[in-house]
């Protein structure tokens, strides 16, 4: 083949004027075997479409390959979640593929657990080891002693894992998913467990209670775009965004106004706003009268009168009192409420410190009530209910006797940390394992989770892991959690993997993105889905017949075939002109030309996914599944849950007080079932610890998952100018009174321990709050992660919202002082 001058120059890498070769020859020494693999002509550029899964958002990407080697990741402009944008972490995606710390094949432990000493094992042997162990569980009729901890449910592996566990006979599949706390607030008020979608395009006023949308989940790239769009509308139509929070985060900084608020008191502000709205009669009376329950006082079937939401907020949450608790001036509260009431298209959102607190559920609930007062749940407003794409449905799982008896067993309970809605809680898992309640766990499978790093009860997790006889992990790296495993069966990294990602939290459209290998696996790794299917074949007749697919790819295609068959929606397209799409839809035509599923698949792989451009309007009257079939200010869902739990322990004769005590709720009477303020518990025992510790993700390293990537570390604190390092943000006044200057090493101490970290004087943080970013301080996870920076979760006091089971990240008080020693612990 003839090499053109241009290709030759490209190969030499000197196509730039003024750029010449200089000590760089070793830099593009791509090994021969890779060239052979791709049948390489040097310098040929190709592009492949896929999905990034470094964080749960699942942004569409286009990968640039030179001679088959991925060199750069771009955003896929037609993926509706990120519309062509990506984040700094995704830029580092290629480093994840070529990471020197990747596991090159399956490993088995050869020394004591946690010592990180391994030897290789073949895939066949590993499969046999796991199969034998699991078969023994079934023979002894103890299939339920298998537990599976998996990551977010935003992909099609999740239903496969669920199916596997069901056919095998264990109820103990747990997903570690941050989005769950907000779904629970929906359940409490609306009685359904679907996630909500938000359409911001017509929103003119957004009040954001604590959700750090630009820096952390659910989809930071998308929200950077949404925020930018909202404040750059033409003809003076720009929206106003008000951020309520204890710190001027990047999200707050990109808002029109920032309202500083004392940590843990957001429910009070929301209820205070409701007070003003009700007093001014500036709420959607139509919606409240016809579609809500518990707004006014009401009488139950026994004739008892119950307090309504209106009475509660009118009595207890008047602006002066709210100001006293929250620190937000009363005039500001009235102004905010009136603005919200007067603006036709106004929306409130909550998350971050509102959700991750010991009063999280009541707080989210109170904020949700503002949306109800606005009438945002009428199907026409910005809120809708997320729907899943019409994947081919899976048949009901047929279980054999052993599976049936195992599956009927109660789920692993939570020991000490018993919370009301256990299915939403993962923090309680170690308790159940340590107390063997209701039985001991024999084998644990770990996929895409690292709770020893990302949870507040890290020590409990370690103790629990040590207690479990056999642990299998599917992670491509050794991390803080699977260092305690017996077998590590590494999965591919996302650039080598096939997967479907859908239902990113808060998106208002139905879609899925197709992740596909842009390069053949470069090591001896295996798709976890493939392993589970191979395992199923070995276990029993039913696991084999209920998971009949030869490999994960076959399973995935069979699910997507359902979408092809229904003809719904369209493959991602540049031609997003709605009128044109509608014209086609009405005639049953598609933009793309295909006559078979194979052809459909080819287009799909090229474009990167599927979208339903015409979502149906949500009819909330049919969505509300509460006992009243309405939006419930007074939650009968919660009341019912309380009653059923009371009935379950009837023998002890305990009343509702026992539940309030167990779940540490300070309210009593009707207030328990209405949104109200539960003070954070540390106020009572703060003592010499006088500052609130706050923490949160950065877009450069969401959930700390990118710490093993050099680029991520190098840019970690880009805006703070701290690279490869953690820091603590301190208000200038607080720093001054503690004798601390910018750049000093300070010691932050809580009751749980202390961290030494660099001080950053930050005028945008409340004087009694200090903030340490989350993401660093790994004790494993490879050479780039280990020993860099600090993990603020290490000094968090353990506290939870005992209703939702969500860990409270703002329940810790600390003190700071200048340290003489070095950085870190």
């Amino acid at each position: 083949m003839e090499v053109s001058r241009r290709e030759f120059l490209k190969y030499l890498g000197i196509t730039g004027v003024g750029l010449t070769l200089g000590g760089c020859d070793s830099m593009w020494s791509v090994p021969d075997e890779i060239y052979e693999k791709v049948g390489g002509m040097p310098g040929i550029e190709t592009w492949k479409t896929s999905v990034c899964s470094l964080c749960p958002a699942g942004c569409g990407i286009k990968v640039r390959l030179i001679d088959g080697i991925p060199v750069r990741i771009h955003g896929n402009p037609i993926h509706p979640v990120n519309s062509g944008g990506i984040c700094p972490m995704a830029e580092a995606g290629v480093e994840s593929l070529f990471n020197p710390d990747r596991l090159k094949g399956p490993l088995q432990r050869i020394s004591k657990r946690g010592e990180d000493k391994w030897e290789s094992i073949s895939w066949d042997d590993a499969l046999q080891v796991v199969a034998t162990r699991l078969q023994r569980l079934r023979e002894k009729n103890t299939a339920h002693k298998l537990a599976f901890w998996a990551g977010p449910e935003n992909n099609l592996s999740a239903p496969l894992f669920a199916r596997f566990m069901q056919a095998f006979g264990s109820p103990n599949l747990f997903h570690f998913d941050q989005a769950q706390a907000s779904n629970l607030a929906t359940y409490i008020t609306q009685g359904h467990k679907n996630a909500l979608g938000y359409d911001f395009k017509n929103v003119k006023l957004l009040i954001n209670f604590g959700a750090d949308l630009l820096d952390s989940g659910p989809s930071p790239v998308r929200f950077n775009q949404i925020y930018s769009e909202m404040r750059n509308r033409e003809n003076g139509q720009s929206a106003k965004i008000v951020h309520v929070g204890s710190r001027l985060s990047r999200t707050a900084g990109n808002s029109s106004a920032w309202v500083p608020i004392r940590p843990g008191t957001m429910a009070v502000l929301a209820l205070g706003m409701a007070n003003v709205l009700i007093k001014d009669r500036q709420y959607n009376r139509g919606f409240v009268q016809t579609s809500s329950f518990g707004f006014d006082s009401w009488r139950d079937k026994n004739g008892t009168t119950h307090k309504g939401f209106k009475t509660l907020v009118s009595q207890d949450y008047y602006p002066e009192k709210v100001a006293e608790i929250t620190g937000v001036p009363a005039a500001k509260i009235v102004e905010l409420a009136r603005e919200f009431g007067a603006e036709e298209s106004a929306l409130v959102l909550a998350g971050g410190e509102a959700a991750n607190s010991s009063n999280g559920l009541y707080t989210l609930w109170a904020i949700e009530c503002l949306n109800a007062l606005k009438g945002n749940f009428d199907g026409k407003g910005p809120i809708s209910v997320q729907k899943e794409p019409p994947f081919a449905a899976l048949a009901q799982v047929r279980q054999d006797k052993s599976a049936m008896s195992g599956f009927e067993q109660p789920q692993l309970s939570q020991g000490e940390n018993a919370c009301c809605f256990f299915e939403y809680a993962t923090a309680g898992l170690p308790g159940g394992i340590l107390n063997k309640k209701p039985y001991e766990i024999d084998t644990l499978l770990l996929a895409n989770v690292n709770p020893v790093f990302t949870s507040v009860n890290q020590a409990d997790y370690i103790a629990a892991l040590k207690e479990i006889p056999f642990i299998v992990s599917f992670a491509p790296f050794v991390d803080e959690t699977n260092v305690y495993a017996d077998l590590i069966l590494p999965d591919h990294t996302f650039l080598e993997k096939q997967e479907v990602f859908y239902k990113a939290p808060t998106v208002e459209f139905r879609y899925f993105g197709l992740q596909q290998p842009v390069i053949e696996p470069i090591h001896d790794t295996r798709h976890t889905g493939d392993f589970i299917l191979q395992l199923s074949k070995k276990l029993s007749d039913t696991t084999s017949s209920e998971l009949p697919w030869q490999n994960y790819s076959e399973y995935l295609r069979s699910r997507i075939e359902g979408i092809y068959t229904t003809g719904a929606g369209t493959i991602f397209t540049e031609k997003m002109d709605k009128a044109w799409l509608k014209f086609l839809k009405e005639r049953g035509w598609q933009i793309f030309d295909y006559t078979s599923f194979e052809e459909f698949w080819e287009v799909l792989a090229d474009k990167g996914g599927w979208l339903d451009p015409f979502p149906e309007e949500t009819n909330f009257d049919t969505v509300f599944s509460t006992p009243s079939k309405k939006f419930e200010f007074y939650s009968q869902v919660l009341e019912k849950e309380f009653n059923s739990q009371l009935a379950a322990q009837q023998s002890s004769g305990a009343g509702i007080d026992s539940l309030l005590l167990k779940w540490q709720i300070s309210a009593s009477g009707d207030a328990v079932f209405l949104p109200h303020f539960e003070p954070l518990r540390y106020e009572l025992n703060a003592g010499k610890f006088n500052l609130h510790l706050s923490t949160g993700d950065l877009i450069t390293n969401i959930r700390g998952a990118g710490s093993n990537l050099p680029l991520v570390q190098e840019l970690f604190g880009l805006l703070a100018r701290e690279y490869w390092n953690s820091w603590v943000e301190i208000n200038p006044e607080t720093a001054h009174s503690n004798g601390i200057s910018d750049g000093d090493i300070v010691r932050i101490s809580s009751k749980e321990g202390s961290l030494n970290v660099k001080a950053k004087i930050h005028p945008g943080i409340m004087p009694d709050v200090v903030h340490v970013p989350f993401g660093l301080g790994h004790t494993a996870y490879g050479e780039y992660a280990k020993g860099i920076g600090v993990n603020p979760y290490k000094i968090l006091e353990e506290d939870y919202d005992f209703l939702s089971g969500a860990p409270s990240l703002i329940s810790t008080k600390v003190r700071i002082e200048k340290a003489n020693g070095k950085e870190h612990v």
């Binding site: 730039g16 010449t20 760089c24 830029e91 840019l715 860099i788």
Partner: protein, 227 residues
Amino acid sequence: MPRWGMVIDLNKCTGCGECVAACKVENNVAIVGPEESANERTMLWMNILTTYEGEYPDVKVRHMPMLCMHCENPPCTKVCPVRATYLNEDGIVAQVFPQCIGCRYCQAACPYTVKSFNWYKPEWPEEMKKAVNPDVSVRPDGVVEKCTFCIHRLQKAKEQAAAEKRELQPGDYIPACVECCPTKAIYFGDFDDPKSEVNKLKRNPRAFQVLEDLGTEPKVYYLSEVE
């Protein structure tokens, strides 16, 4: 001759840092590691300047992407004793790395402090060497480097246009930061072309240049935030 330049709309920018990362990957800018970072030797051709105005609770934070301004009257080229940096025919402040003797005069002369010095030969782990961008050569130690407006992309675009026997079209050539900005806050084009979008934008009442009173005539304009 074209005068390539940039307009950054600060009302659209959210300070996410994607341009910084895109630049670093596109141009094979060295990762210096924790120790060198602590010595403030982090190499960023594109950086984000964060400033705070006012006092708590009335604080305003501003994010400003900062890169080489490709001055029409560059102070850095004038002090280079070996003509390793010069204003080229496209209006780009270009560099000839093998000619650079590492005196760092240009670095000191730059009022925008956007130049980095290679204290060491850049190193990548063996595995990651496969993933560098073959379009851009890696700089040796002992030389100064900075934003090139992704000049390798201009070269490619010119070759492409020549091969197709046509003039360079707007959009044929855009640097990596412009291409990847999720909020589309960065505009790029030819200031010499009266019809170009950047030309229109630079006459926007919100437009300003950084330290314009120095007479450097930067070809990076900013649109200030709408208050």
